[in-house]
């Protein structure tokens, strides 16, 4: 894992002190809220429905046990005993006091964490594959590039006031576990025919009120020119992105309105110009960063055999572990989606436990996934049983990864001031309706995603089944959509028709899964069946 050097630490520490002073001035009345608001937002402090909300960055979703412990400590000491892991691989606390915020940031800084650039029209936390460095199918570890991008984008003066927020994802496998194509810039590391490492660039993806899949604008950027190329993409956006209308300000609108071809032409022109300036980070810096992401000291004699006689353990292994590149190891997924629970929430005790388990079983490393779960990336197969038992005792072993109850849900009207409807109760009711794990497994991979408003924080556009909460004359109403995907088979979901009330939407979900069970052919997932048979049979079941 990357460790701060003196510059990283000095930047973060200085920011804490600056914010301490700004907070003091706000509390003393020297700053008005209008003056203070942009300052607190630059430090991840929002004012939400019930209190201040703090969003803490977890760079590319990677953290160590000590950092995870700190997240638990903050939940316990300054919040109400829990935190919410988000689809952008961050964590949010819902009950922060302004007077505590500087102390929280100071605590975070002691473990090389902060909340900088978790809000505002800047480059946000870089997201990546939660299995990076561990997955059997990856070309290389994407995190050194994610880290390079993090350093480049931190306090980048040119990109601190973009037309709108900017999100970048980096992956290095054909399987897309990071919804890469739905980011402002999606980067996939690839090799060319000569075997050299480089990157494919996708620009202009996003969700929100105008969802778009990012088109590929370059099939190969040599690895050592990656930052330059990203910079060129941003420069064109910064120059021509719309600042007159917030709803048209994202890069996706620019790329769409110019056309991918013309946008690319302008980027290439800028790129050619930039190459003459020699601003690319020195190769030595990438080498320095890469050093931090070496493989841990795997036991080369670890064995692949696993005793699966315990049937509950077997179900968990089948559903929640993923192949590791190292013989004798597995990637273990901790589902934060218990039946009837709040997707992505974890208590301080659970956070502590996950930190301890990472220390004991996963070389001190954890990951946060965009599906709001936690990953222990490097677990010896012979340790899996002990790990599972400890997780299960703490309610952290729902064996439901990628099943219907492994939902993404945004905070919705229970916490969010922009919401039109509640998301969490809908998630809970669907979870309860499909509580039987046998039934869930029968339905197979099914990605259900819920947002409480058009901003789409809950990725509903990318759900095999998507649910969007809307306000219908002051009453919560839910629109159903089908056929989206945030993975390598990326697609945008389509609305089925008129919306449903809270109980109606649960019935509607059940009806569309019944259509799937009736019409599927061998081996088809829900989304495959939908793509084959189209919307009509689902509509018929819903509305006739």
């Amino acid at each position: 894992m990357y460790e701060y050097d003196q510059y990283d630490q000095a930047m973060v520490d200085a920011r804490v002190e600056e914010f301490r002073d700004q907070t003091r001035r706000r509390l003393a009345g020297e700053l008005t809220e209008d003056q203070f608001k942009p300052l607190r937002l630059m430090n991840g402090l929002y004012l939400q429905l019930h209190a201040y909300m703090l969003r803490v960055a977890i760079p590319y979703g990677t953290l160590n046990s000590e950092q995870m412990k700190m997240l638990g400590h903050i939940a316990r000491k300054y919040d109400r005993g829990y935190g919410h892991f988000t689809t952008r691989q961050n964590i949010q606390y819902n009950w922060i006091k302004l007077e505590d915020a500087p102390d929280i940031l100071a605590d975070l800084a002691t473990v090389e964490m902060h909340a900088i650039q978790t809000s505002g029209n800047c480059i946000r936390n870089i997201s990546s594959d939660q299995f990076a460095g561990a997955a059997a199918d990856e070309l290389t570890d994407p995190r050194p590039w994610a880290e390079l991008l993090r350093q480049w984008s931190s306090f980048h003066p040119e990109f601190s006031y973009l037309p709108r927020k900017f999100k970048i994802a980096v992956i290095a496998s054909d399987e897309d576990r990071a919804a890469m194509r739905l980011h402002d810039i999606g980067i996939q590391l690839v090799r060319n025919d000569a075997g050299e490492l480089g990157a494919k660039f996708f620009v202009g993806g996003g969700m929100g009120r105008t969802p778009m899949i990012g088109p590929e604008i370059r099939d190969f950027v040599p690895a050592d020119e990656l930052i330059h190329y990203a910079e060129a993409c941003l420069r064109v956006y910064n120059r021509y992105g719309r600042r007159d209308n917030k709803y048209k300000a994202r890069i996706k609108i620019l790329v769409h309105e110019l056309g991918a071809e013309e946008y690319t032409r302008q980027v290439e022109e800028e790129f050619a110009h930039m190459k003459t300036l020699g601003l690319n980070p020195p190769v030595a810096e990438l080498a320095r960063i890469t050093e931090f992401f070496q493989d841990p000291a795997y036991d080369s004699r670890a064995r692949d055999e696993l005793d699966l006689t315990d049937p509950d353990f077997r179900i968990w292994v089948e559903q929640n572990t993923h192949p590791h590149k190292q013989t004798g190891y597995a990637i273990a997924n901790i589902s934060l989606k218990p039946t009837g629970g709040i997707p992505g929430d974890a208590s301080a005790d659970q956070i502590d436990l996950m930190a301890d388990l990472a220390k004991e079983y996963s070389f001190d490393e954890l990951r946060v996934t965009h599906a709001q779960n936690i990953v222990l990336p490097h677990v010896k197969k012979s340790d899996l049983y002990a790990l599972w038992q400890k997780l299960d005792e703490a309610g952290l072993a729902p064996p439901n990864l990628d099943l219907i109850s492994d939902m993404i849900a945004c905070p919705g009207l229970d916490y969010c001031s922009l919401a039109n409807a509640r998301s969490i109760p809908v998630a809970q009711k669907i979870g309860e309706r499909f509580a039987d794990i046998g039934r869930q497994k029968e339905l197979g991979e099914l990605k259900l995603k819920i947002s409480g408003c058009i901003n789409a924080c809950g990725h509903h556009h990318a759900g095999h089944i998507g649910i969007l909460g809307v306000d219908r004359k002051g009453v919560e109403n839910y629109q159903l959509s089908l056929g989206g995907s945030g993975a390598e088979d990326v697609s945008l979901a389509k609305i089925t028709g008129p919306g449903f009330d809270e109980d109606g939407i649960v019935d509607a979900v059940e009806k569309v899964t019944d259509v799937y069970l009736r019409d599927r052919t061998n081996g088809e997932r829900f989304v495959d069946t939908y793509r084959r048979i189209g919307m009509a049979p689902f509509k018929e079941a819903l509305y006739d």
């Binding site: 706000r26 509390l27 009345g29 809220e33 004012l47 429905l49 019930h50 209190a51 201040y52 109400r80 819902n94 009950w95 922060i96 006091k97 302004l98 007077e99 709040i342 009207l413 229970d414 916490y415 001031s417 919401a419 509640r422 969490i424 109760p425 809970q428 306000d471 002051g474 009453v475 919560e476």
Partner: protein, 96 residues
């Protein structure tokens, strides 16, 4: 009736204007500000007794003053999915 609400500057708690210089965590204590809302809020913001304040349309019910909009009712009750953290679970969220 018009209620006044906002957040406590220091703690962020949702608060309701309860007359004069008083603010309460409980919507039941809220007072009707009539047409004086803007003026009261200007004064109270200046005194830093409230932050990010605004006027909320409400009606009198047998449970006391009740905001008309669901968002304000959730603010008055606390998260509906964590009754352990709620301020008042007695507030009807839907169907008033």
């Amino acid at each position: 009736m018009n209620l006044l609400t906002g957040n406590d500057l220091k703690t962020g708690d949702v608060i309701w204007w309860a007359g004069g210089q008083n603010w309460s965590l409980h919507v039941a204590d809220a007072q009707d500000a009539g047409d004086e809302g803007e003026a009261i809020l200007a004064r109270e913001e200046k005194a830093r007794r409230v932050n990010a304040s605004y006027i909320v349309a409400a009606e009198m019910t047998d449970k006391g003053p009740m905001p008309l909009h669901i968002k304000e009712r959730v603010r008055a009750s606390g998260p509906t999915v964590r009754s352990d953290l709620a301020i008042n679970t007695d507030i009807p969220i839907v169907g008033v």
